[in-house]
Symmetry: C2
Subunit: 357 residues, 2 copies
């Protein structure tokens, strides 16, 4: 039976980079005789424009039926005036929640060919390879109650709820401990347990699991210090696990350290290894439609998809190798351009990867 991939290009540069990933997928299907069916649906601003809602029922239905989702990006100034419940981001958040994609894996890897692009000194980032494990379906992103109310004195007050229960904390910690076992055996759990009760519970539970993973060296850091340490000496980290909000911040910080945020893929998995795969970067509306976007994060997201949700390791390896070769050839999109390299368009970059396959 053929496997189902749902493509959700979304907004901004989403459609143009997803198009390049699909070129790559076509070739990979032939090379590895894979029986994969690709369908398409609308999400985010594109879905608001067409159907008035960022996550149409049809999209959600297709998503639930598919083995994996290749996601582009959502959002843009066009939809900034939408009410909170109908923003493009709700398409993304709705998918994460409805499919229970609680485990967000965000590698921050420095590509040796792009070492000069980091704003950090070369010796601090050479060989950098961090994995941020972010809880993705709980915390303050989804906590209730939330909203804006009017107080007795007539003032408005906005409020959100940061909430985690035991089972949510334990299942994401398990993913992180296991990832550390497969990597360099170090796990740093990030919280603000000196101030926030919810993260004190987080720390207590993660600590309590350490005995079950005696091959993993567990440490804890407050989120303010973790951000500092990422900037000061990023290579001290192997795997970092944290909640939804802190994970949003720390993963972007870690990604930026590599200087190549246009290069970084991510995976969001549920307990069945169904997954959604998307670039770490956003929809970049300022350069959308100009052929300037870097499609490599999207192409590497496809590689992650093949690896994690379809188990096609060889195909994933082939894509990652091809991306490396393209960089070796000196091809660069504008975001990673440097002297002596050839600047290419989005499509040229996609074609070059296909060529290398």
């Amino acid at each position: 039976m053929s496997r189902q991939i749902l493509c959700l290009p979304g907004d901004g540069i989403g459609p143009e980079i997803v198009a390049e990933a699909l070129k790559v997928l076509d070739v990979i299907k032939q090379l590895f005789s894979l029986d994969i069916e690709v369908s398409h649906a609308l999400v985010g601003g594109a879905a608001i424009d067409a159907e008035g809602t960022p996550l149409p029922a049809e999209t959600l239905k297709l998503a639930k039926q598919s083995d994996a989702i290749l996601f582009g990006a959502v959002g843009g100034p066009k939809w900034d005036d939408q009410p909170m419940a109908n923003r493009p981001e709700k398409g993304l958040l709705g998918l994460r929640s409805e499919l229970d994609l609680f485990a967000n894996l965000r590698p921050a890897i420095l590509f040796p060919q792009l070492a000069a692009a980091s704003s950090l000194k070369a010796e601090l980032v050479a060989g950098l390879d961090i994995l941020i494990v972010r809880e993705l379906t709980g915390g303050i992103y989804f906590g209730e109650p939330r909203g804006v109310r009017t107080l007795e004195n007539g003032e408005r007050e906005g409020y959100n709820t940061y909430v985690y229960r035991e089972s949510e904390i334990k299942r994401i910690a398990k993913v992180a401990f296991e990832a550390a076992q497969k990597r360099n055996g170090r796990l740093c759990s990030v919280d603000k347990s000196n101030v926030l009760e919810v993260t004190a519970l987080w720390r207590e539970l993660v600590s309590g699991m350490a005995d079950d993973y005696s091959d993993v060296e567990l440490s804890h850091m407050y989120v303010d210090n973790a951000t500092m340490q990422l900037v000061r000496e990023p290579k001290q980290f192997d795997v970092v696990v944290t909640g939804n909000m802190f994970g949003d911040i720390l993963s972007d910080c870690a990604a930026m350290l590599t200087g190549s945020i246009g290069m970084l893929p991510s995976a969001s998995l549920n307990e069945k290894n169904q997954g959604m795969y998307e670039p770490v970067h956003g929809s970049a509306p300022d350069i959308a439609g100009q052929g300037k976007a870097n499609p490599l994060a999207q192409i590497l997201s496809l590689a992650m998809l093949l690896r994690y949700s379809l188990g096609e390791i060889a195909a994933a390896d082939a894509i990652e190798q091809a991306v490396g070769e393209v960089l070796d050839q000196g091809l660069r999109t504008g975001d990673i351009a440097s002297e002596g390299c050839r600047v290419v368009t989005t499509a040229e970059m996609g074609d070059a990867v296909v060529q290398c396959l």
Copy 2:
């Protein structure tokens, strides 16, 4: 009538660096004929040890009576097992709240003598001078309800509340707009308004005030992007304003960019310009009592105190100049040591500043 300064050395390296700042104050009082009375009290872990509570009533009473507070640092592993309500940090948080010190000013300045200490490339941080304005008495730090409850299924659940009302947002935005007017006229407000209702209200209100400050160029950034932009190109920022939690993270990140977190002071002010002044760095229990701590952030906090709460501009200038001279002489504590410089102890550094005065 003499002005009152309350000294709260706290824990870890707090007492030793406050001692150096007091040496400096003694000389300054003579040089500028200042009538200042200094009293001392306990806070944090030191207060827990002596009185069983991190913020004894006597300390709070003295704090309220004083014109300004010189604060060291609180916290350490010794008190990690204290229940949340009795942690050393509650001493600090209680003072902020009880004195209504809502405006936390955290400058992130690169000292030219220490340029090499930054982990960022020199050209990205040369001349860096950012002011983070952090809301300090609201948000998720103080929001109710909070705690840990047991659910029907027997699981525990931790929860905190992120809450801001209109008046809280407007008064901190006012401080930030006015700071931008006195600096380079640029203000960036940081939120997560695409996900959190409380920060959507924040963005709406800050935007609404822009017309009153037509000489300030206002921009908005999501917190994940702001962290990236701080690492990518920090000099794009002049003043940054944000809530308590994001401000905790961003100010530490910005401080670390300078490579000299041991050098950075901060001020926490209320509407009456009563203020608490403390180093941005923490209590560093690992090096406490060894004479290794850098007292300059504490000494510069004293300068800020003289400037903001006592209006003694000339005295503040003198201290800041003396600190510059000491750095010019090549004296360094371990945290900022580099080749060709002389490594000195905490006390030697304090003495050197006194000499320069």
